[in-house]
């Protein structure tokens, strides 16, 4: 399982990459494996302000539908338009081409509550048995 060291992770399996005042988010390799083949991605539009933990969109696979939650509070600046036509990118490249939203960080103090790669690896291991 791929867990890049430079990202932060949530308990609901989103990743976030911080770049100054802004951040990019998507779902983890673990999440896409669990969901299996993804057929549909729906994202909130740019300009929407959301609190940490609120839904920024939903993803649907052949097995299940799932909400995706804001790793940090903020306002969406841009969404990845490619995912509406090619949702399979989420399975192929969850940390790269399948980034989902870019947003302005409202409160960087919230970052302290997220997991680093080592903690997330442990969290994923705990759920497998």
């Amino acid at each position: 399982m791929n867990i890049p060291a430079d990202l932060k992770y949530t308990k609901s399996d989103e990743w976030v990459r911080v770049d100054g005042d802004t951040a990019t988010a998507g779902i983890s390799d673990y999440a896409q494996t669990q969901l299996s083949d993804i057929v549909f991605v729906e994202l909130q539009s740019a300009g929407t302000s959301l609190k940490q933990g609120e839904s920024f969109g939903s993803v649907e696979s052949v097995k299940a539908a799932s909400e995706m939650n804001m790793p940090l509070s903020g306002e969406i600046i841009e969404t990845n338009a490619a995912l509406s036509d090619s949702p399979e990118l989420v399975n192929q490249d969850p940390y790269g081409n399948a980034w989902m939203i870019k947003f302005g960080i409202a409160d960087s103090a919230e970052l302290a509550g997220l997991m680093d790669a080592a903690a997330y690896q442990k969290y994923c291991d705990e759920r497998a048995h």
């Binding site: 083949d37 549909f40 052949v62 097995k63 299940a64 539908a65 399979e88 759920r127 497998a128 048995h129």
Partner: protein, 494 residues
């Protein structure tokens, strides 16, 4: 595999029936609005003989798996046998040839049957009143939630917007809530598969319309704190909605109304033996407690004039005082009412209870046989169904889907898989009371064989099914490309 379409048998001028001479004056095409007249040449209908039609569809039906062909342990769907006597009664001319528009005075037998069915469903659920209108389970949910909303609004309380739903719930629960313009709040489950009481306590408040609960829940487990759950929700002014999908474990044993439920939908096509799935329309009657009775959809069947020793009562339609309105054209799926009524008459009160007891016994029998070979995440005595994990750490390539596909090679319909969502790689198994011990033993044997294959020759599972007309379908393409017509769309449909 490529199967011919009915169109492939078409030959110009061939016909399946001879139309009788019309006994009314023929309308002229010239009298019809221009834009609505279609050119017969471009109608694109197959021209086939009766025998072509019979052979084509008989052949296709033989490719399908059904309850009449084999074991169908589809969890939460209660795929029990559909007794043939139901079909006989539903075809009695007085039922089959009645028309919903005819004068109720001329359809007293039909109304008497609907009235009696309402009464029995009241008795079984412990409710004050029942509507037969909803066309299926989710439609019953929608009806129930609309009544709960109407009840609060009628009290002048417009602040309630939230419906609490446990994370083990059927997906239809949040869908019905959203359809009703309300907001879903998901509740976690505890380690024994019950609703997490602390989370419920925190969620209860003056903004709560009510709680939707399935009991036994989708893990097949009876909610151990059901009395506390009801007390907490009622305590904050909310109502309890019961999803009756799992009533097959409860009939004659426990009554949701006695537990404090305010609304519950039944699935006649699960619990009461009417056809399920492609076999027929569903039917989702809804029972309510006293305080919601005035909000039921209209019309209800009632005795409008009492009978006496010589005269039967007169049945008619009434409109509840604060009705939410009509939920369906006419009176619901009447043909299913006849079938469910027949089922109840055949078994009687004692027999219905026994059916539930045997359904629970059958599930526990299978559970005991399988839990050594498959991981059972919630290890409790189950009700009418149970959920296993279709995955092993020492056979990492094999998933619930592979087990499901492999079962098809053995002539068994796969159980519900990947649901409920709180169990990883879920396999949800519901045998129902209609299966014999021999069938259950055979199924257990097959499941144990598959568990062995998963460890010794996983490839057999990965490439299954091997004996079905088609192997694995392209699920991604099926979900993304929604055009089902395999012929070019006719011009008028574009």
């Amino acid at each position: 595999m490529t199967e011919p379409l009915i169109y492939d048998y078409s030959s110009p001028g061939r016909a399946g029936i001879t139309m009788p001479q019309p006994d009314v004056p023929l309308a002229s095409f010239a009298d019809l609005p221009n834009g609505l007249v279609r050119d017969p040449q471009t109608l694109d209908l197959p021209e086939v003989s009766q025998l072509d039609v019979v052979r084509h569809f008989t052949h296709l039906s033989a490719l399908n798996h059904s309850i009449d062909k084999g074991f169908y342990p589809l969890g939460s769907c209660t795929m029990k046998y559909n007794p043939r006597i139901n079909e006989e009664t539903a075809r009695l001319p007085g039922f089959a040839f009645s028309h919903p528009m005819q004068d109720p005075l001329t359809a007293q037998g039909n109304l008497a049957l609907m009235y009696q069915l309402q009464e029995w469903l009241k008795e079984i659920g412990g409710f004050a009143a029942v509507t037969l209108q909803p066309a299926a389970g989710a439609h019953g949910e929608f009806t129930g939630i609309l009544m709960m909303r109407a009840y609060h609004l009628d009290r002048g309380d417009a602040a309630r917007k939230k419906i609490l739903i446990p994370n083990s719930a059927h997906g239809t629960n949040p869908a019905s809530t959203t359809m009703s313009g309300l907001e879903v709040v998901e509740l976690p489950s505890d380690s024994r598969g019950n609703i997490d009481l602390e989370a419920l306590r925190q969620a209860c408040g003056p903004d709560v319309v009510g709680l939707m609960i399935t009991n036994p829940n989708t893990l097949g487990l009876f909610e151990e704190h059901i009395e506390d759950v009801v007390k907490l929700v009622h305590g904050c002014g909310g109502l309890i909605y019961g999803d009756g999908a799992n009533m097959n474990a409860m009939v004659g044993i426990a009554r949701p109304g006695d537990l404090g439920f305010d609304v519950l939908h039944y699935n006649l096509h699960k619990t009461f033996s009417t056809p399920h799935g492609g076999g027929g329309p569903g039917s989702g009657p809804v029972g309510v407690s006293e305080r919601l009775a005035d909000f039921l959809p209209a019309p209800l069947v009632a005795i409008v004039e009492d009978g006496d020793d010589d005269e039967p009562p007169l049945y008619g339609f009434i409109t509840p005082k604060k009705t939410i309105g009509r939920m369906k054209a006419f009176h619901g799926q009447f043909g299913m009412h006849v079938r469910a009524y027949t089922y109840m008459r055949v078994h009687g009160a004692e027999g219905l209870r026994e059916n539930s007891e045997v359904a629970v016994l059958n599930a526990n029998y299978l559970l005991a046989k399988l839990k050594g070979a498959y991981y059972l995440p919630y290890d409790r005595v189950c009700k009418h169904e149970f959920v296993l994990e279709g995955h092993w750490a020492d056979a990492p390539d094999v998933h619930a889907l592979d087990i499901s596909k492999r079962l098809m090679d053995y002539g068994i319909h796969p159980p519900t898989n990947y649901f409920p969502l709180i169990v990883k790689e879920a396999l949800m198994i519901e045998p129902t009371e209609t299966e014999s011990k021999e069938t259950l033993d055979q199924f257990a044997e097959v499941m144990l064989t598959i568990a062995k294959e998963a460890h010794e020759s996983p490839q057999v599972l990965k490439t299954a099914p091997h004996v079905t007309p088609v192997a694995r379908l392209d699920e991604v393409r099926a979900a993304k490309e929604l055009v089902l017509c395999c012929r070019p769309l006719p011009e008028w449909a574009e």
